[in-house]
């Protein structure tokens, strides 16, 4: 929890990791990729405040104690949601698998939520694994990478028939939250892997599932925003938005937040630190202090008040995951709705009625 000026914030970090990217985990022959990957992540950390930068050795492999201190003791987080990333072609035991996350998390009851993953190209075997993970770890969410290369297959779409089987399985297993990575990626080489049109389709076909678009489709926030306006069960995952822009590019941060508040609305935005890329402490404190700047460029963006910050920092994700929030952290009044509530059901051309 975080308290400032008498206001109490319940913090859910809805996108974080516990990885091992040290040389002991590199796959022989693929060392350059394993090294390049973690160095790329490390460069993202460079966008945060200088005093939060880590040496690369520490960044490659941090301990359980480091994580508990950075995220909970210092970072104000009440509940953290592990999002796994496998990358087993480069990292022997995976980068951060459901199992690695849970093995660590089980020593700290009540602190973590264990999301798992699936890939429709894994077929029946993958379905069995999904069921096993859901049962063993109680997963209520999954993290999906649609652009991932797999045995010569150049990525996949949520609309593929194989993916529908998995989405149906999610419904049966009580996995309600589908986090889709639509952000910086590598493969497939010749396509734009940020395309969000598949999310649009499945959000309509699976109204009981929630689709959280991680990194809000950056660098294509416009495509994400248009789509999210049409779909009530599509959310904006703010990992990278806050970490990558709030300190390094404050004016762009304000504009991106302004666009998201306009198109998606504060009820559908969720905080994620992307730890260990960035520590949550400065992000939580910075967002609570943040205000839309003055000036003509920002004048017609919605404002974000205390209630909205409470929703984004924790209450929205708590609702998605059924996390109990003590009464003292609950809202006193409703916030400002986003464009999709105001414009729901109107044809696109008439959706915005004037400047």
């Amino acid at each position: 929890m975080y308290e400032k000026n008498g206001e109490k914030y319940f913090v859910v970090d809805s996108h974080m990791h516990y990885w091992n990217a040290a040389p002991d985990n590199w796959v022989p022959g693929h060392e350059q990729y394993a090294k390049g990957w973690i160095e790329c992540f490390h460069a993202y950390q460079g966008l945060g405040p200088p005093q939060t930068h880590w040496p690369i050795e520490h960044f490659q492999k941090y301990s359980e104690d480091d994580l508990m201190k950075d995220v909970f003791t210092d970072g104000h987080v009440d509940v953290a949601i592990f999002q796994p990333t496998y990358l087993k072609e480069w990292y022997k035991e995976g980068f951060n698998t459901t199992e690695r996350n849970a093995t660590m998390g089980e020593r700290h009851p009540g602190k973590f939520v264990y999301n798992t993953r699936w890939d429709p190209r894994d077929g029946d075997e993958g379905l069995a694994m999904l069921r096993a993970n859901a049962e063993r770890y109680g997963s209520k969410g999954v993290k999906l990478y649609t652009a991932e290369w797999n045995n010569g297959s150049r990525g996949w779409k949520l609309t593929d028939p194989g993916a529908y089987r998995y989405l149906e399985a999610c419904q049966q297993l009580g996995i309600r939250n589908v986090h889709v990575h639509k952000g910086p990626t590598i493969w497939p080489l010749d396509k734009d892997a940020f395309d969000v049109s598949d999310v649009d389709h499945v959000a309509t076909d699976f109204p009981d599932l929630n689709f959280i678009v991680e990194h809000v489709g950056l660098p294509r926030i416009e495509d994400f925003c248009f789509m999210a306006t049409q779909e009530p069960n599509v959310y904006a995952g703010l990992a990278v938005v806050i970490g990558g822009l709030m300190h390094a590019r404050p004016r762009f941060f304000a504009k991106v937040m302004g666009e998201l508040l306009f198109w998606v609305g504060e009820d559908k935005m969720t905080f994620g630190s992307d730890y260990a890329i960035w520590e949550p402490k400065w992000q939580v404190e910075g967002l609570v202090d943040w205000e839309m700047p003055a000036g003509e460029e920002f004048a017609d963006y919605p404002k974000l008040g205390t209630e909205g910050k409470k929703k984004i920092l924790g209450l929205n994700a708590a609702k998605l995951y059924g996390i109990d929030v003590p009464a003292e952290y609950q809202l006193r009044e409703a916030g400002t709705p986003g464009a999709h509530e105001v414009l729901a059901g109107q044809p696109e051309e008439h959706a915005v009625s004037g400047e």
């Binding site: 734009d192 504009k255 460029e297």
Partner: protein, 251 residues
């Protein structure tokens, strides 16, 4: 002919290197719609006494998208080769996971698909055109916002032609992007067009069109901001022709 005794070789080479750097200003990151020079992506551009040009390129991360990296390297090759006095060109993309393939493919004049045989199915024209359309939309915001700030009503913008808008670098740029796509770009063309079809935007669609233009521009500029920050973290040195003015604007 230069007068004897003024070390012509050095002077000519310096001039040629400057000409290559100037030519590289026409090479853009298709995703960010900014020149590779001002982004800081050019490590060096040199020309030997024999007219052999070497252009070294660097990117913000080891894993930057290979499709865009290929386009920039190939465009840099073509732009350099077109400089009078340059006899041969070598483009070297540095510190990138696909550097060997890209450098080899560009040197051999191969397309993207054959450079990455089995890993890529098609050429990148469509991808490039898609981003050019986004650049048109973002450019529309750049041209329209000052007009709106000066009191123009959004409905009025729809009635304007390109020739009626006061000249500005942003307008010139918008026209060039539209022309590249084969969209109407002359004085009598409407200011507001659908970047897909080129048709004039209908009156009732104007407010949403402008909102889309703005969010497209915000996304592109925010992305460029992230790329600049990561490049600075990775190298800590200025690129050739890097524009610090743009980078500082948002600090």
């Amino acid at each position: 002919m230069l007068a004897p005794g003024v070390t012509p070789g050095l002077q000519v080479r310096a001039t040629l290197s400057a000409a290559v750097l100037a030519a590289l200003e026409s090479v853009r990151d298709p995703e960010l719609d900014e020149p590779v020079t001002s982004l800081g992506f050019v490590t060096s551009a040199t020309v030997s006494a024999a007219g052999e040009a070497t252009v070294r390129l660097r990117l913000p991360t080891y894993f930057c998208a290979p499709n865009f990296a290929f386009l920039m390297a190939a465009d840099a090759h073509d732009a350099t080769a077109a400089v009078p006095g340059v006899r041969s060109v070598q483009v070297v993309l540095e510190d990138h996971f696909a550097a060997a393939a890209i450098n080899g493919g560009v040197a051999a004049g191969e397309g993207f698909a054959s450079t990455f045989e089995g890993e890529a199915a098609g050429e990148l024209h469509q991808l490039r055109a898609g981003f050019l359309r986004k650049a048109v939309l973002a450019g529309t915001d750049q041209v329209c916002r000052p007009l709106l700030a000066a009191g123009a009503r959004s409905g009025r913008l729809r009635e304007l032609t390109l020739g009626q808008v006061p000249r500005s670098p942003a307008l010139d740029r918008l026209r060039r992007r539209r022309a590249e796509l084969g969209l109407p770009a002359g004085d009598d063309a409407p200011l507001l067009i659908d970047p897909q079809t080129g048709a004039a935007v209908r009156p009732e669609a104007v407010p949403l069109h402008l909102r889309k233009a703005r969010v497209t521009r915000v996304g592109m500029e925010a992305n460029a901001g992230i790329c600049r920050g990561m490049l600075r973290h990775r190298y800590g040195t200025q690129g050739q022709g890097e524009s610090t003015a743009v980078a500082e604007e948002d600090m």
